[in-house]
C-alpha cells in the first residue's frame, strides 16, 4: 500500500487538502463551502496521510472532539439567548472590506464535529480491521 508514488503524492496533497478544507470553512458564509464540506475535505486529507505514512501511535479520544464541536455550535447560538434574541441569531459586520460573521463559530463547531467523527469512525474500523 505505502508505495513511493503514494508517499510522494501525499506529501503535496495532504497539506493542500487541509488548506483547501480551511479555506472552504472561511468562505462558506456566502460561497460554496461551509463547516460540513470543509470538515470532510480536511478529514479526507488526514486519512490520505494515514494511508501513506501510517496512523499516529497512541489512543486518540476523537469522540471528545465531537462533543467539543457540538458544544461550540450550541454555544454560538446561546450568545443571542443571553442578549434576549432568538436562539442562533447571528450578527454581521464589516471591518473595511472584510466581512465578519458570528455564524463562523457555528461553522467551526460543525467543522470540528465532522473532522472528529470521520476520523473516529475511520480509525475505529481501521484498528478493528488490522
Amino acid at each position: 500500500m505505502r508505495t513511493v508514488v503514494l508517499k510522494t503524492v501525499a506529501k503535496v496533497v495532504v497539506p493542500a487538502g487541509i488548506l483547501h478544507g480551511l479555506r472552504l470553512l472561511v468562505v462558506g458564509h456566502d460561497a460554496p463551502g461551509g463547516g460540513f464540506a470543509a470538515g470532510l475535505v480536511t478529514a479526507l486529507a488526514v486519512v490520505l496521510g494515514w494511508l501513506a505514512f501510517g496512523t499516529p501511535a497512541g489512543h486518540r479520544r476523537w469522540e471528545f472532539g465531537v462533543s467539543l464541536g457540538l458544544a461550540i455550535g450550541v454555544a454560538s447560538g446561546l450568545g443571542a439567548v443571553l442578549l434576549g434574541r432568538p436562539f442562533l441569531t447571528h450578527a454581521v459586520s464589516f471591518v473595511g472590506p472584510v466581512k465578519l460573521v458570528t455564524s463562523l463559530f457555528f461553522d467551526v463547531g460543525v467543522f470540528v464535529v465532522v473532522v472528529s467523527a470521520t476520523l473516529a469512525a475511520v480509525r475505529t474500523l481501521w484498528e478493528a480491521g488490522s
Binding site: 460540513f36 467523527a117 469512525a121 475505529t124 474500523l125 478493528a128 480491521g129
Partner: protein, 101 residues
Amino acid sequence: MNALLAALVGLLFAAGTWLLLGQRILRQVIGLGLISHGANLMVLLAGGLGGRHAPLLANPTPRADPLPQALILTAIVIGFGITAFLLALGYRMHALEEDEP
C-alpha cells in the same frame, strides 16, 4: 429531463430494494444507500429542475431553488453518518460470528 430523472429514481429504488432483500450485510448496506440516494434525487425533482422565479429579485430569470439543495445536503449528512454506523455494525456482527460460532 424530468421523466428521465424520475425513471432514475425508480431504478435506484428497484436496485436498492433488490439488494436489501439479499442475505449479505454489505449488499444490504449498499441497498439502503441506493434507496436514500433515490430519495435525495426525488427531493431535487420536487424543487423543480427548471428553477423558480426568486420572490424578491427584480429580474425575472428563473433561479435554482436553494431549499431542496439544503434539504438534500442535510439528508446526505444523515445518510453518511448512518452508513458509517451500519458498516461498523456489520463489521461487529462479522467479528462476533467468529467469536461465537
